[in-house]
């Protein structure tokens, strides 16, 4: 099979302002502002680029990392890509992130199935043979197979749905996304022998990709700079920082294209599983692109956050007995988690939630750029006995929060935290008021109450940049507070009608009174 579609030359990465870019473009054009695609693709691609960056040039110490400039970084990456050029073919002898051995397994399974075919009657034999042949065929990428898809009879059209694809560029993107974000479940090739002889860890249901987690989907966050290279540099770790982290036992590790594992439990696989590289690019599925379709088998199994999986993009608190992770929640926009993510600004010691990318990079970022951003996002999934799918109100979530570097610091953070707490208080008041409005009329208003407080957050989101700025200039805060209180009343009024006597009565009785709110906050 000859080599085809080299990822270094062919455009396949969605990039803002460029349409599609190749890996070579990404590391030679200094002006690409950011990646495109859906949030999961953005995370997966950022991680792939970081993996290349880390493999090409990981500074030994944190000081050296501070010195690293964009041009040197890009040059190192280009040299690295040139060195490993023959490993970036999407199709060929050593296809990128794929396991050609899968084909052998499928063939073996087909032979076993053919052997078990009943000899008579002829009709039955023919059917069984046909079925065995069909089972051995690769599946098209798209509806019914792609794990990000709801059932085919779903009537809601969403962003996360994908049409069948035969474009190599989209297939490459799919393979990269799959590695860390494969859904757990039964939609894999079954009844296959393991690649490592004697490996017994496989079951009917495949484990989820480590970055989506075994539950509902982790929230991932990165620092962002003015250009894509800056973004990558800000999230780069030094060897020192990697060594400091006890969870990555084998250190930085080798990216999988340098050393592909041979099976589920070989030396290379175990090394990869315990390295920092696995958080950037894991091999949770063994796949093989075949023409326009794909074979899809469970790959390496990774632990969940409870068993020690750590990604620098996850926001985790291990201060209490029970480990806490921030999850993706379409109802709770990521900007509301910012006080947790920035909690380290409050004091130097670790308290509560922490996101390593932000913690390691923020000071560096504020020194280098006048404006820095925090990007958060992910995909919410539903899990049912290990089977994950995207259904009902599950959705992608992403948000980008920009702030001026000159303002960031403890006084800013203290004010910001206070303001966010007061927003939280307002939303709770809206919830309680709406709920008691319906209670007064002997109705259950739980759902409407959450809608009302949800509406309040939605209305606040538009004012959020103003609030962030106002925390830098406290004179503006009273106006913002007044505006947010008005938004709270607006949310309450929207969900609590006042038409009849009883409604007016309940409305007036339960309407929150914010006079005290201002006095307390003054």
């Amino acid at each position: 099979m000859h080599n085809r579609f080299n990822l270094i030359d062919e455009p396949w990465i969605p990039a803002v302002g460029k349409g599609f870019a190749s890996l070579g473009d990404i590391f030679s054009d200094p002006d690409i502002p950011a990646l495109g695609g859906n949030p999961v693709q953005k995370i997966a691609l950022t991680k792939l680029l970081l993996a290349i960056g880390q493999a090409a040039c990981t500074p030994e110490s944190t000081e050296a990392l501070e010195q690293l400039d964009a041009e040197t970084f890009r040059r190192a990456c280009r040299a690295y890509l040139e060195k490993w050029r023959d490993r970036f073919w999407l199709f060929g002898e050593r296809p990128f992130l794929q396991m050609p051995a899968v084909r052998r397994l499928i063939e073996e399974r087909k032979q076993t199935e053919l052997k078990a075919v009943p000899a008579a009657p002829a009709k039955k034999k023919e059917d069984a043979e046909k079925k065995a042949e069909e089972n051995a065929l690769p599946r098209p990428i798209g509806t019914g197979f792609f794990p990000d898809l709801p059932a085919e009879n779903n009537t809601i059209l969403s962003q996360f749905q994908l049409l069948e694809t035969t474009e190599p560029a989209e297939m490459a993107l799919f393979v990269v996304t799959l590695m860390n974000f494969a859904f757990g479940g039964k939609r894999i090739e079954k009844n296959l022998a393991p690649l490592t002889h004697g490996f017994t860890g496989k079951s009917v249901s495949a484990k989820a990709g480590p970055s989506i987690g075994n539950y509902v989907g982790y929230l991932h966050s990165f620092l962002t700079g003015p250009t894509l290279t800056d973004t990558l540099l800000l999230n780069l770790l030094s060897r020192e920082q990697i060594r400091d982290n006890p969870y990555w036992k084998s250190g930085l590790g080798k990216p999988p294209w340098e050393l592909m594992p041979e099976g589920e439990d070989c030396v290379a696989a175990n090394h990869l599983k315990n390295s920092y590289m696995a958080t950037l690019l894991s091999l949770s599925r063994f796949v093989l692109l075949d023409g326009e379709a794909i074979y899809y088998v469970e790959g390496l199994q990774y632990p969940s956050h409870k068993e020690g999986w750590r990604e620098p993009g996850m926001t985790i608190s291990d201060q209490e007995k029970q480990l806490k992770v921030l999850w993706v929640d379409p109802d709770k926009r990521p900007w509301r988690e910012l006080p947790s993510m920035l909690a380290f600004l409050e004091s130097s010691e670790n308290k509560g939630f922490e996101c390593q990318f932000i913690r390691y990079g923020l000071t560096r970022a504020t020194r280098k750029h006048p404006q820095v951003g925090i990007w958060s996002g992910g995909l919410r999934v539903s899990a049912n006995s290990g089977d994950q799918s995207v259904k009902q109100d599950n959705d992608f979530v992403e948000s980008l929060f920009l702030f001026r570097s000159s303002e960031i610091g403890k006084p800013w953070y203290d004010r910001f935290k206070l303001e966010m707490e007061s927003l939280d208080q307002l939303s709770r008041k809206v919830y309680a008021a709406t709920r008691s409005y319906f209670d007064k009329q002997n109705m259950d208003g739980g759902d409407l109450a959450s809608n009302a407080s949800g509406l309040f957050w939605q209305l606040c989101e538009r004012r959020f940049p103003e609030l962030v700025d106002a925390c830098g200039e406290p004179d503006k805060l009273p106006a913002i507070r007044k505006a947010t209180a008005a938004l709270a009343l607006q949310s309450y009024d929207t969900y609590c009608p006042k038409e009849t006597a009883r409604q007016i009565d309940a409305w007036a009785e339960c309407r929150p009174n914010f006079a005290k709110h201002f006095i307390n906050n003054r």
């Binding site: 006042k498 038409e499 009849t500 006597a501 009883r502 007016i504 009565d505 409305w507 007036a508 009785e509 309407r511 009174n513 005290k516």
Partner: protein, 178 residues
């Protein structure tokens, strides 16, 4: 234009002042005004209402003015008070706005569809407030509300209901602080 507006907003206040003054000076007028809220005897007060340029043919104007005039002369008010009708109802009972009876009274008032009905419901409320609550009603504001009732009854009702509950909350905090 501004002057005209001022004149317009000032009319209920002037009427309240006029009635209070009239009742103190003229016992006969006071007696006639006391009958203003009874359809059978209402005509006796027309002479005084007409003296204030009230359009007697228009019930949406006549009835609120007559009701308020009757209330003032009955209560023998010496000046215009400061309590809204909501607060006044709440203050008739020991539990203030937490009282079920007070709530029932308020709700009946909120259920009114027309200014005519509202005035009919207000009549017994005035005597209740006179005898039980230690507050004086802000007659001019109430009169204004009644005039506005025909244009936007919902707004007026929410105002009354808010008044009813808001004062209860304030008094509760005062107690805590004391």
């Amino acid at each position: 234009m501004d002057n005209e507006k001022e004149k317009k907003t000032g009319r209920p206040e002037k009427f309240v002042e006029f009635v209070i003054g009239l009742c103190q000076k003229d016992k006969g007028a006071a007696a006639a005004l006391r009958r203003a809220d009874n359809p059978a005897t209402e005509y006796q007060s027309w002479e005084y209402l007409a003296g204030f340029n009230i359009d007697l043919e228009n019930p949406f104007e006549r009835i609120p003015y007559a009701t308020i005039a009757a209330a003032i002369s009955r209560a023998k008010a010496e000046r215009n008070g400061s309590a809204g009708i909501g607060k006044a109802i709440a203050y008739c009972y020991d539990d203030k706005s937490a009282s079920d009876q007070a709530k029932a009274r308020l709700r009946r008032l909120l259920a009114c569809d027309s200014v005519k009905e509202a005035c009919r419901i207000l009549r017994p409320l005035f005597s209740l407030i006179d005898s039980k609550a230690a507050v004086t009603i802000d007659y001019s504001r109430l009169l204004k509300d009644l005039i506005d009732f025909g244009y936007d009854s919902n707004k007026v009702k929410t105002k009354w209901a808010t008044d009813f509950y808001r004062h209860a909350a304030e008094s509760a905090t005062e107690e805590v602080e004391a």
